[in-house]
Symmetry: C2
């Protein structure tokens, strides 16, 4: 139902967006072709939208960013699945289980802090992130040593940000 609050996902604080959007498109295009796929208009629009956001967003948000009338919701679902398979995007979950996607290709490991009140996405400072990253790597090394294959992980932090103003139910929609 499109009737829900229009609240767009709050913008990420500092950090701007990757100036590498152009490169990203070129790179993904190559990957798609290599896989026997086609680089369509909706496809480009979605990647551009994801890159512009620069943080995990819902399917609905992508749909709106691309333009609800410019691309069917079903196409978003199908494309995200395909992109994930290609390793271009990564799927994560909001604290309430809502599915989120963001660009993973060429993206340095970043850790997100999601505000449970405003859904605003923040990031750990580089130093803290570095320490955490090290710990996680250590764990994964250990798992591989234990014989695990294709080791991966998922981690997210949640909290109510200091300047949370509008505790919204469906702000993320």
């Amino acid at each position: 139902m499109i009737a829900s609050t229009q609240t767009h996902h709050p913008f990420v604080g500092p950090g701007g967006q990757p100036a590498a959007t152009k490169d990203l498109l070129a790179q993904v295009a190559e990957m798609i072709h290599a896989a026997g796929g086609r680089v369509t208009k909706p496809c480009i629009a979605m990647l551009t939208a994801l890159a512009a956001r620069g943080h995990p967003v819902t399917i609905e948000q992508i749909h709106r960013d691309v333009g609800v009338d410019r691309c069917d919701l079903v196409t978003i679902y199908r494309s995200m699945a395909a992109f994930e398979e290609l390793g271009v995007v990564r799927r994560s979950f909001f604290h309430d289980g809502t599915v989120l996607y963001d660009i993973s290709l060429n993206q340095p490991t970043r850790f997100h802090v999601v505000c449970k009140a405003t859904n605003r996405v923040d990031q750990l400072d580089p130093e803290t992130a570095k320490d955490l990253h090290r710990s996680i790597e250590a764990v994964q090394r250990k798992l591989r040593a234990r014989g695990y294959d294709g080791v991966s992980h998922r981690i997210e932090f949640f909290g109510i940000s200091p300047n949370a103003t509008a505790p919204s139910k469906s702000a993320k929609k």
Copy 2:
């Protein structure tokens, strides 16, 4: 079904159930009463089932463990939501997004490794877990210092376990 096949979790014999389970029930009962709720039969069955499993399980699994005819699926949904609110259980997600629940009350922080092939749930060894726990605590301390409130996190590891035999699609169901 997550860990094993049909086999119900080997229950402790005539002597009674694990002492911890007993305590858990008593403690939760008190919490429920304090909250103006009632300790019903399905309620006890669910907690017992969760405690017996001792690791994250699906709603469906709980339903089967309790006995599909002994309690409605809807009741599981409602109760898990209530238990989560009380802080008795914790919700997590399988790598494909499937919702999982497990006891969180009085539970030391444990980290799970989920096999993507068999859905079997394993745990990090205490030492590794301890290190990781320390890192995560450090991050959360930093977030609190930054002004975040109600800080929490979610972390899970995935991989294909060394002895993965039956790669199943819906083994967890």
